[in-house]
Symmetry: C2
Subunit: 213 residues, 2 copies
């Protein structure tokens, strides 16, 4: 009778796992399209196929839902950068980083837009994560790139802005999808568009870093 909130219980039941998953899936849909303030609990509940109080049984507030969602996304979002290997070959490392980021934009556009929405509004929920773990990771990888440049393996360039430009060019295809589709028309869609983008970005970055094929 007293309400032991799902999030507080020690061991999570099967139902809890399933329902929380179901809710976060719906929340991703709604938050990524409307932003935090624009999304409503009723809307998420409807998409999730459950009543509003039921949803609030698993996440006590709208913000708790958003926080759970964005923390999870932020984590997987950085996986490609973590995979960036200092010991590897500069050309193939950068090339495959670009491709992996582009694949994520293609396969997880909602996650990209959720993140974009959050950063756009000032990133109140993830400010600490950006200044802490994210910055540290980028610092580390920037150092790798700088070392490559110093060793003459790639052209000298600002590693931070290189990373920014890879982020922005790839995520653009998720975040600005509507615009991209409007400009390209429907004839180029899906995989064709993806391959065109991949080819172009590869050429751009390989050339810009003086890595000739």
């Amino acid at each position: 009778m007293p309400i032991p909130r799902a999030a507080q219980t020690q061991r999570r039941t099967r139902i809890q796992e399933e329902k929380e998953e179901q809710i976060l899936e719906a929340a991703l849909d709604v938050f990524s399209q409307n932003g935090f303030k624009g999304a409503t609990i009723d809307q998420i509940a409807e998409v999730a196929g459950m009543s509003k109080p039921n949803l609030l049984y698993y996440f006590r507030t709208k913000e708790a839902m958003h926080r759970a969602l964005i923390e999870r996304v932020l984590d997987t979002w950085l996986d490609p950068l973590r995979a960036f290997d200092a010991e590897g070959n500069p050309e193939s490392e950068i090339r495959s980083y670009i491709r992996r980021k582009l694949e994520m934009a293609r396969d997880f556009p909602r996650e990209s837009r959720l993140f974009a929405n959050e950063v756009l509004r000032g990133a109140p929920l993830i400010e600490d994560a950006l200044k802490g773990p994210l910055k540290e990771l980028v610092d580390e990888k920037a150092e790798v790139i700088r070392a490559w440049a110093k060793a003459g393996k790639i052209a000298k360039c600002d590693p931070y802005h290189l990373i920014f430009s890879i982020w922005s060019t790839t995520q653009h295809y998720a975040d600005f999808d509507v615009q991209v589709r409007a400009v390209l028309g429907q004839e180029k869609d899906g995989d064709g568009r993806f391959e065109d983008a991949a080819r172009f970005l590869e050429q751009l970055f390989m050339g810009g870093l003086s890595i000739r094929n």
Copy 2:
């Protein structure tokens, strides 16, 4: 006594000009930070320094405000691309296009974020503009770039994705400003950051298009 809404009157008075300007300025502040749904009329009214009904005297609905604002922004936003000159030198044309876009991201970040917010939510208000005038303009300039490539003045590349990548890399500094600042720390701020970005992007695109300095 009957209410001749400002927007409907034939000739606009001095007060109308001033107040509408004042409102749109405030609306830019609020909409760009919170998105359409996240922004409230009360908030805009407060920033504009007038009462809510007074604001609604000039713009009958929240959507009317947003529409007026975004149409104006969209127009000026495309100016740099319009300035792109087919007769000019490819290198300097592309270089100055990048610089101009980067300057806009620096000087008009709110406009950039307003636009980003609108596209992120599916661009319901400007879908037609994207598929019409915007597409036509991009088509035209893409043809110019293609001709340059054919003439061997720049490397062969997909002109559409080239334009997308210039848009995304430059606007990134406005839209993802919080993230950029979090990663770079505060030591690099303002003009220093801008110059670093400009130098990097110039190198990237000039190299990627095989235009060697």
